[in-house]
């Protein structure tokens, strides 16, 4: 990293199956877990309902006029809501939107608009292809809607790298700030549960039991599909007006043959999301570490690692670990902090494992002036010094 300043998370905006905003996410993290809703999936043998975490974008009307929303699809609405919540959380004035950089990470992009576009010419012929659906199906449509609505003329980027989208895009957000290309980056991860994604999940994954996700159980599928958006307003430490914590590193790569990239000491937040094959990989990497996992609160989606980062930021801000829900870690050989336990570390790493040995790792650190007094006192008591940023 060429810059010497740390990068700070100034604001967080989240929407998902748990609700809308950091207060709803905090409630869920503290144990008030909302059960999943359902997704209707048309199958070859008739329609079925599967459990799914759905997100409600109706609060968006507080930020964007209803008239404007008419031509904006669900995917971009999720992004607009998450983005506006993060800006409101940070208290960023409208006059500061102009040179915001915007980075969106999405595993599957605007799959609903893409399918609707395909439907338009499959049903009615090539000549009837819908220009509106096509425009909204372009992968960077959410980033475009955000920049248009906010009047942001900074650089604008969208990354789609399936489950590595979040750590990969966060790495670029850090670079933009370190290079002083922009004063602030509005980073967001978003995925929607469209008909098409629901059907693909139905066909590619075993049905999960009607029970909460248990991400590290390797013998069965427990993932519950989800949609949502998690946004972070990022800035350099010299410009930060409070916030949550520092975003000290984010990287992607291939796991080396021996060992793993997890920094010690710290708390490891696992992105394990109930998919049977990835549960096995997480279990292999996370053994004997101090771990937490919150995916049962927001479900399984490629944007999930951004929710892990949001949870990590709230832990560092408050100084106490949230309980990992359910019996996610039953019989698992690791240290799992109970809810309310002091965080006891300056560093939290969020780990994402993808197929073919690829990984993403995002590291958060305490940052003076942003983290809770509780955390500070505990660090002093524990004799833990602040770890150097990357």
């Amino acid at each position: 990293m060429s810059g010497t300043e740390r990068i700070v998370i100034e604001g967080i905006g989240v929407v998902g199956g748990f609700g809308c905003g950091i207060s709803d996410l905090s409630r869920a993290l503290n144990g008030s877990v909302a059960p999943p809703g359902t997704l209707n999936v048309s199958t070859g043998s008739g329609p079925i309902e599967i459990p799914a975490f759905r997100a409600d974008t109706s609060p968006l009307k507080e930020f964007v006029p209803a008239r404007t929303l008419r031509r904006i699809d669900h995917f971009s609405r999720l992004a607009l809501l998450g983005g506006n919540l993060a800006l409101a959380d940070a208290g960023l004035a409208e006059t500061e939107h102009h040179r915001l950089g915007v980075i969106i990470a999405s595993g599957y992009g605007a799959s609903g608009a893409t399918y609707a576009f395909l439907r338009s010419f499959i049903n009615d012929g090539d000549i009837c292809a819908s220009p509106t659906y096509f425009a909204n199906s372009v992968h960077n449509s959410a980033a475009a809607h955000i920049s248009i609505q906010l009047g942001s003329m900074g650089p604008n980027l969208t990354v789609t790298h399936f489950h590595l989208s979040v750590p990969s895009a966060l790495a670029t957000a850090r670079l933009w700030l370190a290079e002083e290309r922009v004063q602030r980056v509005l980073f967001g991860a978003v995925d929607e549960l469209s008909d098409l994604i629901g059907y693909i999940r139905y066909r590619t994954r075993d049905a999960a039991p009607d029970a909460p996700m248990t991400p590290l159980r390797t013998e069965m599928e427990t993932s519950i599909p989800a949609e949502g958006a998690a946004f972070l307003l990022l800035t350099r430490e010299s410009a930060a007006r409070g916030g949550y914590c520092a975003l000290d590193a984010s990287t992607t790569g291939s796991l080396p043959i021996s060992g793993h990239p997890i920094p010690e000491p710290g708390l490891l937040v696992l992105g394990a999301d109930g998919c049977r094959e990835s549960g096995r990989r997480y279990a292999a990497v996370a053994q004997n570490s101090r771990i937490a996992c919150y995916t049962p609160l927001y479900g399984s989606m490629p944007a999930g690692p951004a929710f892990d980062v949001a949870a990590g930021a709230l832990i560092l801000k408050g100084g106490r670990v949230f309980p990992s829900p359910g019996d996610a870690f039953r019989d698992f050989p690791a240290t799992v902090p109970v809810g309310g336990e002091p965080v006891g570390t300056d560093r939290i790493s969020c780990l994402t494992l993808a197929g073919d040995g690829a990984y993403g790792l995002t590291t958060l650190g305490n940052f003076p002036g942003t983290t809770g007094e509780c955390a500070k006192e505990e660090r002093i008591a524990a004799g833990v010094s602040r770890m150097d940023p990357e």
Partner: protein, 390 residues
């Protein structure tokens, strides 16, 4: 604000103009182009719109055509850089690829089957899920560095090159394979026709009678490496990535901002990061799609910011290759700097009084050591790379 130049040690390309960079450049300088109605897919549009399908190449059946293009170009670039598996294995090498199609969960046959209420074969979806272009290249060369797939529409290839340069400057990797790839298909063909921005005759960038773009396909990859790697290996750069800039329009999903403010910012940033003045630019490889709006805005900006500097669009030889365009045009730009010659702007015959400036009409000798390559994207992102002669 200027940054360290990043050596480019290898380049590769496949498109309608040729199976590799050298063949493509020879075709461009001969003024050859072969737009024709699509052969690889059928359409029931009453008037066929010409496209630039890539020349035949060895296409692995288990990969998306987009990723096969990416891999083909990467192999040429890696060989051109004199790298082999042993050397690559001793370095931390990243992969950054721009695309529009290569990360989209959509496949027409599958969607037709789903829409008809059948049980469609999942093979096309599995092919998509294992074909993320950056992952395909990382797997093929067993690379351990960062990975990113950029989907910022038509500026993706330019952004990928710029981001990879930042990775090396920041020390995130020793070298990177960066570029863009995209395939032609009915989805993009129908989409662009639905927006009424395609020409039903061969495209005519910057011409008074231009009616729109012709789509194309292909890929280009560059090998970027740190100076330290070059010193260690005792090799020389082929050319340099001097600078990069990008900025949003905050205006419209599919139309450029009329005053070109985003493009102006991107050019200014590319020049500033390069540490060169506009007067030292030898030529500009413009985005030049042949759509009335793009060429009007782009030429206005060139007239104001880079007056008298020769410019051309190479899309008259390749078609608009979308996510690959920025990378294909970057390698053409670097190759032209090496040769001291630029091809004619194919398709231009009649000056447009509204534009007021004309692209080069014949292959032209250029002197100077710096050139710009521009990309304008749906969603309003504008990206520019500055390339330097070794």
């Amino acid at each position: 604000m200027s940054v360290a130049p990043i050596p480019i040690t290898g380049m590769g390309c496949i498109c309608a103009a040729g199976r590799n960079l050298s063949d493509s450049m020879e075709a461009l300088l001969r003024g050859e182009r072969h737009p024709a109605p699509p052969v690889r897919f059928a359409s029931d549009h009453p008037v066929p719109h010409p496209v630039f399908e890539a020349v035949d190449f060895e296409e692995p059946p288990d990969l998306l055509r987009t990723s096969a293009f990416a891999l083909h170009a990467a192999r040429e670039a890696v060989a051109d850089a004199g790298l082999d598996r042993k050397i690559l294995g001793s370095l931390r090498v990243g992969v950054c690829v721009g695309t529009t199609v290569g990360a989209v969960i959509s496949e027409e046959t599958f969607c037709r089957g789903y829409l008809a209420g059948g049980v469609p074969d999942m093979a096309p979806i599995h092919r998509i899920l294992r074909s993320n272009p950056a992952d395909v290249i990382a797997r093929a060369f067993d690379l351990s560095g960062p990975r990113q797939t950029v989907v910022t529409a038509c500026s993706s290839g330019t952004d990928a090159v710029g981001i990879a340069g930042s990775w090396i400057r920041a020390g995130l990797c020793d070298a990177a394979i960066a570029g863009g790839a995209d395939e032609l298909g009915r989805i993009t063909y129908n989409g662009f026709i639905s927006l009424m921005i395609t020409d039903d005759s061969p495209c005519k960038p910057f011409d008074k009678h231009r009616k729109g773009l012709n789509l194309g396909e292909g890929a280009a990859m560059l090998v970027l490496a740190s100076e330290r790697v070059l010193r260690r290996r005792g090799t020389r750069a082929r050319s340099f990535l001097l600078g990069y800039g990008s900025a949003g329009d905050a205006y419209h999903l599919t139309a450029p901002r009329p005053d070109g403010a985003g493009l102006r910012s991107a050019i200014s940033e590319a020049l500033a990061t390069s540490g060169v003045s506009s007067a030292s630019v030898a030529f500009v490889n413009a985005h030049g799609t042949g759509t009335p709006d793009n060429d009007r805005v782009e030429s206005r900006v060139l007239h104001d910011m880079l007056p008298g500097i020769p410019f051309l669009s190479t899309k008259g030889y390749t078609g608009h290759t979308l996510g690959a365009a920025g990378a294909i045009e970057a390698v053409f730009t670097a190759a032209c700097l090496e040769m001291g010659k630029i091809p004619a702007n194919a398709g231009f015959e009649t000056p447009d009084p509204e534009i007021g400036i004309n692209p080069v009409m014949e292959a032209t000798t250029v002197s100077g050591t710096v050139a710009l390559s521009e990309s304008l994207a749906f969603g309003g992102n504008n990206s520019v790379v500055a390339l330097g002669k070794a």
